[in-house]
């Protein structure tokens, strides 16, 4: 299985982004997804910067994919998307059907991200006919459904699984980070920059529950499938996606690299959990609530194998 680095979902300082990809160049990941997928107002890294970063990574042997914005609202966002989809340097990850339409009309091969709803084989076939070369399983689907989808997978199509990261759960017209600071979206003062792993939302019992990331809502726990690697490999999964977090991303890539090379999973999983902001979950993988985790989920994994 290859490893990919998913797009950075948070708003980071420009220098931090540049440093991140300098490190990524030396990492064990084979594929890197680049670009802003959440909010078109985040422009510290500009379009030409992404291309420059992409060229450098490609020179170093990485497969580079440019990721598109997930929720399109303004006409200007559609214009940017059109520009992205007509670039002739890099493959594009479509995070919305609009991008699928533009890329397929242009006769370009493309990847779909986790927010494109591919829940059954017929959908997979239709998109394969449009130029889909790799798809990411929607995060709420588990091993059982993945097995069925893999069984009916069109020839040559690659499957990627969201393997590590706070789960992308929802997108809205409303900016929740701005709302949490009592600011209107149109005058957000780019406050997302203060929350490089998103802003935590807890229940009134202090249970960490969700994370606000601008217009996106993520899980507070970090979804991880490290201990499910044998099952994913057995199902013919081609790529594991690791979603960047503010700290320890390169160490995490190292752990997944060790795991795919056959190192014992239990100590690696323990080590991984220490590197996550607020602990792990993996319920979706085994057909449970996404927030669930631990021995129960692991137990079912073992049964599945």
């Amino acid at each position: 299985m290859r490893l990919s680095i998913g797009p950075i979902t948070y708003f980071w300082e420009r220098q931090q982004v540049l440093d991140f990809y300098r490190q990524a160049a030396d990492s064990a990941a084979e594929i890197v997804y680049l670009g802003e997928v959440i909010c078109s107002k985040r422009r510290l890294v500009k379009s030409e910067d992404w291309f420059a970063i992409g060229r450098e990574l490609r020179q170093g042997g990485k497969e580079v994919i440019l990721s598109s914005l997930t929720l399109l609202e303004a006409a200007s966002e559609v214009s940017s998307l059109k520009k992205l989809c007509s670039n002739d340097e890099f493959t594009v990850e479509a995070n919305d059907i609009s991008a699928v339409q533009l890329l397929s009309k242009a006769g370009r091969q493309f990847v779909t991200g986790p927010s494109v709803n591919i829940y059954n084989s017929r959908t997979l076939e239709i998109l394969a006919g449009k130029g889909l070369k790799r798809w990411v399983l929607p995060v709420e689907l588990g091993l059982d459904t993945l097995a069925d989808l893999q069984a009916g997978r069109p020839a040559g199509l690659e499957t990627e699984v969201f393997a590590l990261g706070r789960l992308p759960l929802a997108y809205s017209a409303r900016c929740y980070t701005a709302r949490s600071l009592n600011l209107p979206k149109d005058d957000c003062r780019f406050k997302c920059i203060d929350y490089p792993d998103g802003r935590l939302l807890k229940t009134r019992e202090d249970q960490p529950f969700l994370v606000l990331n601008g217009i996106q809502t993520q899980s507070a726990l970090t979804h991880q499938v490290l201990d499910g690697l044998p099952q994913l490999a057995a199902l013919g999964v081609d790529v594991l996606r690791l979603s960047p977090q503010h700290q320890h991303s390169m160490e995490i890539i190292g752990l997944f690299d060790a795991a795919r090379k056959g190192a014992a999973l239990e100590p690696l999983t323990r080590e991984l959990t220490e590197l996550l902001p607020l602990g792990a979950c993996n319920g979706y993988l085994v057909g449970q609530a996404g927030m669930h985790s631990g021995p129960g989920a692991r137990h079912e994994n073992q049964q599945a194998s």
Binding site: A75, D96, P138, R174
Partner: protein, 331 residues
């Protein structure tokens, strides 16, 4: 502007038709539609009566088959399509590409509407479904401002339907997994958000807790009216503050912008609420009918009547309403 009203059962359907709906939308009693609630929706027998009642009075019947089947369930979605089509419904409201493909090939003459659950917010996205499956209408998610809706209408190859009243999804529909994160069941997979099977009401010494699969969604003090624990409408802590971090319990109400919606070329207005009572359907349909008629007759002079606003507030979540994303400051 066509008025499209919800019906979770036969009495609601009659209420919608009798109070002036141009079309009603319904679903079957399973997970093929996004209001998969116990005691709701239509069996084969009630479905036949429903179609007859509406069509005899010249109204249309749309069937929502708008969830996303996984491989094991796909046959059930095909069966739902066949059932609806063979009864001569006026349109299907659909979201999944695979099911749209099946319906468009098996029933080429049947009208297909793209459900809000397909999560399409741009003309390019609409074109995908138009070119591949021949959809003849799109229902837009509740994430666009009025000017953004206008932009989509200008470029869309098919007429556009928008939400006019009802419970407000604050996340873009079809791509919201909050409910399955907490319960394992989402609108996409199961046809329900914050499902009743996972809800617990808990009396505490100082009031009521509402929980969803154990997660505290809200706490209500003595005398405070406890609401249903819809995940995005609870009170949570962010930083130092405890508040409705995502959205208040509130309903969408577009009465005040009907002339704008008309002017930008909206073709149909949808009322949310198949899970609500026949009394709700009757009340909302009557008010929306009167308002749309008034607005079409004299758009320049149209003002929503105070009594309409009160009648709608009375059946709203938390007794309050909002313009939602249509109104920029809400965002």
């Amino acid at each position: 502007m066509e008025l499209v009203c919800p019906a979770g059962n036969l009495p609601s359907l009659k209420a919608a038709v009798d109070n002036g709906a141009d079309a009603v939308y319904v679903g079957f009693k399973d997970d093929t539609n996004a209001r998969h609630f116990a005691g709701l929706n239509f069996t084969q027998r009630t479905f036949e009566s429903a179609i007859r009642y509406a069509q005899d009075k010249g109204r249309k019947v749309y069937v929502a088959i708008n969830t996303f089947p996984q491989p094991k369930g796909f046959e059930r979605w095909k069966a739902a399509v066949d059932e609806a089509a063979s009864h001569g419904v006026d349109a299907l409201i659909m979201a999944d590409m695979g099911v749209l493909d099946y319906a468009s090939r098996r029933w080429p003459d049947l009208r297909l509407h793209l459900s809000v659950q397909a999560s399409v917010t741009s003309a390019e996205g609409i074109r995908f479904y138009f070119e591949n499956f021949g959809i003849r209408r799109v229902v837009l998610p509740r994430v666009l401002s009025v000017s953004q809706v206008a932009q989509v209408i200008t470029e869309s190859p098919v007429p556009v339907e928008v939400f006019g009243f009802g419970s407000l999804c604050v996340m873009v529909e079809g791509r919201c997994l909050l409910s399955s994160y907490a319960t394992g069941r989402s609108p996409n997979t199961y046809g329900a958000c914050s499902p009743a099977s996972h809800v617990r009401w808990e009396e505490t010494g100082d009031g009521t807790n509402t929980r969803l699969n154990g997660v505290l969604i809200d706490h209500y003090g003595e005398g405070e009216k406890a609401g249903y624990p819809t995940l995005c409408k609870g009170r949570f802590q962010v930083g130092e503050h405890t508040f409705y971090a995502l959205e208040e319990p509130t309903s969408l109400n577009t009465l005040s912008i009907l002339p704008e919606l008309r002017k930008i070329g909206v073709s149909a207005i949808k009322v949310e609420g198949r899970q609500r009572s026949p009394a709700y359907v009757a009340q909302v349909t009557a008010v929306m009918r009167a308002a749309i008629d008034d607005c079409m007759r004299k758009p320049a002079d149209y003002r929503p009547e105070e009594r309409w606003m009160k009648q709608l507030a009375d059946v709203s979540e938390g007794s309050q309403t909002t313009l939602g994303a249509y109104h920029r400051p809400w965002q």
